[in-house]
């Protein structure tokens, strides 16, 4: 009765290990395949959604920061809904960056290993080892940049994970065995409190999606149906913004009370 989130520096490895762990544990799978469902549910262009999961916003890419945040929030909300079902192996949705503070979630990072991974890619693609190394370094740098921009976390920081396994010397089968063994540990078992925390995060994510559709600079925290939204606004717009937030958030399923905290938006006021 737990959730396993697997992240890796190589997408193929992430998927392979996640599939094997899910099979061994009899858990359901939650991978990047759900992005198509997210796009359909929130009426987003699937290509743009995929792009948002890989790149940061830029003027040249026709993806504004607000749009990007909204797309990421849509994915988050959907992931939380699935995670509430429990007994799940999740990968490829950056969940290791935003699912935080839930005791029955085990976060694992699997590293493809420098020598083994590089050689396999070089053989598959028929290119030299140096080229592969350069390409991988670029990809890793891009992922790091993305994780910092999206969630202010460096995904290569090992303190973010319960377990990090490097496949350079350890066989994938051995890694699967270690992961499945670890999840049996009692601290990863579901408790009423951890489930409640997850429900609160899921509700925050749902409110976040609703609000980010029409505004930016939003921070949402939910607890047992009560929602606190922090935002910025100029003195002139303060009342209007509070009313809008209360109306939009109040219509979200599961919200019983909305409180809005507004900070002065100095930039807007000066303008």
């Amino acid at each position: 009765m737990s959730i396993i989130i697997i992240s890796s520096d190589a997408m193929e490895i992430e998927e392979t290990i996640a599939e094997k762990v899910a099979e061994a544990m009899g858990y359901s799978r939650l991978g990047h395949q759900i992005l198509a469902d997210v796009a359909a549910k929130y009426q987003i262009d699937p290509v743009k959604l995929n792009e948002a999961m890989e790149t940061t916003p830029s003027l040249f890419k026709n993806l504004s920061a607000r749009q990007w945040r909204h797309y990421l929030a849509c994915v988050e909300a959907e992931v939380y809904d699935y995670l509430l079902a429990d007994n799940i192996v999740c990968w490829g949705l950056a969940a290791h960056l935003y699912v935080t503070g839930i005791s029955h979630v085990m976060k694992v990072r699997v590293l493809s290993g420098n020598s083994r991974g590089t050689m396999e890619i070089a053989e598959q693609k028929g290119i030299s080892l140096q080229v592969v190394e350069k390409l991988r370094a670029g990809e890793l740098q891009q992922r790091k940049k993305w994780s910092l921009a999206a969630y202010n976390y460096d995904e290569t920081d090992l303190s973010r994970y319960d377990l990090v396994i490097n496949l350079d010397q350890i066989d994938p089968e051995e890694a699967v065995k270690t992961i499945t063994g670890a999840i049996e540990y009692r601290k990863f078992q579901v408790m009423t409190y951890s489930m409640k925390c997850l429900s609160n995060l899921a509700l925050s994510a749902r409110v976040n999606v609703t609000l980010l559709k029409s505004m930016a600079d939003i921070n949402v925290q939910a607890r047992d149906g009560s929602v606190v939204v922090s935002t910025k606004a100029s003195a002139r717009q303060k009342r209007k913004k509070i009313a809008t937030i209360k109306e939009l958030a109040g219509n979200v399923d599961g919200v019983s009370y909305v409180e809005v905290h507004v900070k002065k938006n100095i930039l807007e006021e000066t303008a």
């Binding site: 520096d9 005791s103 085990m106 990072r109 590293l111 420098n114 290569t156 920081d157 090992l158 303190s159 994970y161 319960d162 377990l163 990090v164 396994i165 490097n166 350079d168 010397q169 350890i170 066989d171 051995e174 065995k177 270690t178 063994g181 670890a182 540990y185 601290k187 990863f188």
Partner: protein, 270 residues
């Protein structure tokens, strides 16, 4: 039959994990002995060696190469100690000092900051904020040290085979996983691997003997054949020749010794 290095942040329960692993596998446990050996063998006070592998080099030290020498001494002693295999090392920088030995299982133990703060508060009887500052300063020094000497971040996941966070996972769980991993095929000593450690031990010994006067050399060893790489062509002096003759006489395991001047050391050189 393998070598396990356990690296950890300060107050992260790494020592407790290392002790239990050594006990369960019936391996030798080494840590501070390496510094004591290096101190007596190379006639350097232990405190200087501790500083060398703990604090990052200052601006002047980068030019004096003292730290580089001390690290070479420590590495030489450590590699010599692991030649016999079946060892758990839980001192500083084991994963970097034993780099290049295939049967080394490199483990990192982390603990969440709040738990570390609690340990320091209890031990030193100080406030939470002071404890936090102490730990953060210590982590900062470790980062600077690894970056300045090896160009890598100690928090970089790719430096380790296994990294375990002691928070939800307990010390016993960590011991289980380490023993399980050490038992796998790739960490078992083979004849080839054992020879590699012996060669590395010779190379490290030669480097330690030369590093004081020739800080920029690189040394490799293959089946007792030692190659010394020097960047400048004019550096092969009478002083070096004399020193090499002494090394040849005093170091066991050297069959042949050769210098390559004006050649960049290969990446696996120590």
């Amino acid at each position: 039959m393998s070598i396990i290095t356990i690296s950890r942040g300060s107050y992260s329960m790494g020592k407790a994990v290392a002790m239990q692993v050594a006990q369960r596998l019936n391996y030798r446990l080494i840590s501070r002995e390496v510094l004591l050996d290096a101190s007596s063998h190379f006639h350097v006070p232990e405190i200087k060696l501790i500083k060398a592998i703990h604090d990052a080099p200052g601006i002047l030290e980068r030019y004096r190469h003292n730290k580089q020498s001390y690290v070479a001494y420590i590495r030489s002693v450590l590699v010599e100690r692991v030649v016999d295999d079946n060892v758990v090392y839980h001192g500083l920088a084991g994963h970097l000092l034993l780099k290049g030995i295939p049967q080394v299982l490199k483990v990192r133990i982390n603990a969440d900051l709040e738990r570390r703060v609690a340990v320091v508060m209890e031990r030193d009887k100080i406030s939470a904020s002071d404890a936090r500052i102490l730990i953060q300063e210590d982590d900062k020094q470790r980062r600077k040290w690894t970056r300045s000497l090896y160009g890598q971040d100690p928090w970089d996941t790719s430096l380790y085979d296994l990294s375990i966070c002691i928070h939800k996972l307990s010390i016993e769980n960590a011991v289980d996983y380490i023993c399980q991993a050490a038992d796998t095929r790739r960490f078992q000593s083979t004849e080839k691997n054992i020879q590699k450690v012996k060669d590395m031990s010779v190379a490290c010994r030669v480097k330690a003997d030369l590093v004081d006067e020739f800080p920029n050399i690189g040394v490799t060893c293959e089946y007792g054949n030692v190659l010394i790489y020097m960047k400048g062509k004019d550096q092969v002096t009478g002083k070096l020749t004399k020193k090499l003759n002494l090394i040849r006489e005093n170091t066991s395991g050297i069959y042949h010794l050769e210098t390559h001047a004006g050649v960049e050391p290969p990446p696996d050189a120590v």
